[in-house]
């Protein structure tokens, strides 16, 4: 990117660090479209859970998945929620390519500074942490998208309780997990 006084539209598209306020306002406007036109609020985990039933087929068999009381009312189809997840991954992928920020990352720096350079250790933690995230999201009925943005903007009681608990627990637990020195600086 050049340091011209006025950045071209192409330069803005390539620029990686958009203001977080701009990104947030953009997501807010997306919510207008999602509610007003698509009639389907932004959300990730409901469709993700239905996709996960594919991976349960080898364990439970087709009959076991079809009869499961959780999946039964919402069987997996190629529908709005599933296509949305594909779009989400495409958007991030293209953004990373256009800004030349596509990076293969095995261990993030904050992790290695605290827990060392073992890829296995990071992968085990990511798998376990991801499992907790999804189990919790399903028990609560949504995640940072469905509750954290789509739900809170509707002033839903459940969603405000959810984000308050996530941040309170996350802030306290991160101090223990990453060590006390991280709380300062």
């Amino acid at each position: 990117m050049t340091l011209d006084s006025k950045p071209s539209p192409q330069a803005i598209l390539r620029q990686i660090n958009w203001s977080p306020y701009l990104a947030g306002i953009g997501i807010g406007v997306l919510c207008w479209i999602a509610f007003g036109i698509a009639k389907d609020p932004l959300g990730v985990t409901t469709a993700f859970t239905r996709l996960s039933s594919l991976f349960a087929l080898p364990i439970l068999g087709a009959e076991g998945v079809a009869q499961n009381t959780y999946w039964k009312p919402m069987p997996l189809h190629f529908d709005y929620g599933v296509v949305f997840l594909i779009g989400l991954m495409l958007g991030s992928f293209v953004s990373a390519l256009v800004s030349k920020k596509f990076r293969i990352e095995l261990i993030p720096s904050h992790w290695s500074e605290r827990f060392g350079g073992s890829v296995v250790r990071r992968f085990v933690a990511a798998f376990f942490g991801g499992g907790l995230v999804m189990y919790g999201a399903r028990m609560a009925g949504g995640c940072t998208s469905g509750h954290g943005i789509s739900g809170t903007l509707q002033l839903a009681l459940s969603s405000w309780v959810f984000v308050a608990v996530v941040f309170a627990v996350g802030i306290v637990f991160s101090v223990f997990f990453f060590g006390r020195k991280w709380g300062h600086s």
Partner: protein
């Protein structure tokens, strides 16, 4: 049998694409940014979320008032929401991503995010397998239904949105001044 109309397909792809793009450009697909938020060293995550909530909330409220949109509120099964939120918060500190950002980070090249996506698949399957028990013992505790703050408190929508917008603006001003002083 078709489960999606061509219009819905384009909308899902387009809205999803823009959402993924904005998550990446807003830097919340970055592990360090998310962890720094929990450690209160960087407020990018809260800036993105709160801007989206205020802008989205006021716009959607106008749409609902005009009859152009409907609210779809999730059940306030408060024990499930609290326990689930606690597991989610702990998991997010260990993993570093939430479900949306994990998929976006995977698409931007993060391999450990992809490993966690398989962990999320395992978590979803485990939930489906334990659903009967959870439903019978947790989801029915403190179940208040699909309730919104205005109805629950008797304070009208306009007051909530005004307080939310002002509170968020004051919070942003406070954070920016703190950063400027550093």
């Amino acid at each position: 049998m078709m489960y999606i109309t061509p219009t819905q397909l384009l909308l899902a792809l387009g809205i999803g694409f823009a959402f993924g793009w904005l998550l990446h450009r807003g830097k919340v697909t970055n592990y360090n940014v998310i962890i720094d938020q929990f450690l209160l060293r960087d407020f990018t995550v809260m800036k993105v979320m709160l801007s989206a909530i205020v802008v989205g909330g006021i716009g959607v409220f106008v749409l609902v008032t005009l009859g152009e949109a409907k609210y779809s509120v999730k059940d306030a099964n408060l024990l499930g929401v609290i326990l689930g939120g606690a597991l989610f918060g702990i998991g997010m500190v260990i993993y570093g991503y939430c479900p949306g950002t994990s998929l976006a980070a995977t698409a931007a090249g993060s391999i450990h995010a992809l490993v966690g996506v398989f962990g999320m698949v395992a978590g979803a399957i485990l939930y489906a397998l334990t659903f009967d028990w959870v439903k019978a013992h947790i989801l029915n505790v403190w179940a208040l239904g699909k309730v919104r703050l205005p109805e629950w408190t008797g304070v009208p929508d306009l007051f909530w949105f005004a307080a939310l917008a002002l509170g968020v603006l004051a919070f942003f001003a406070f954070i920016e001044r703190k950063i400027a002083r550093k």
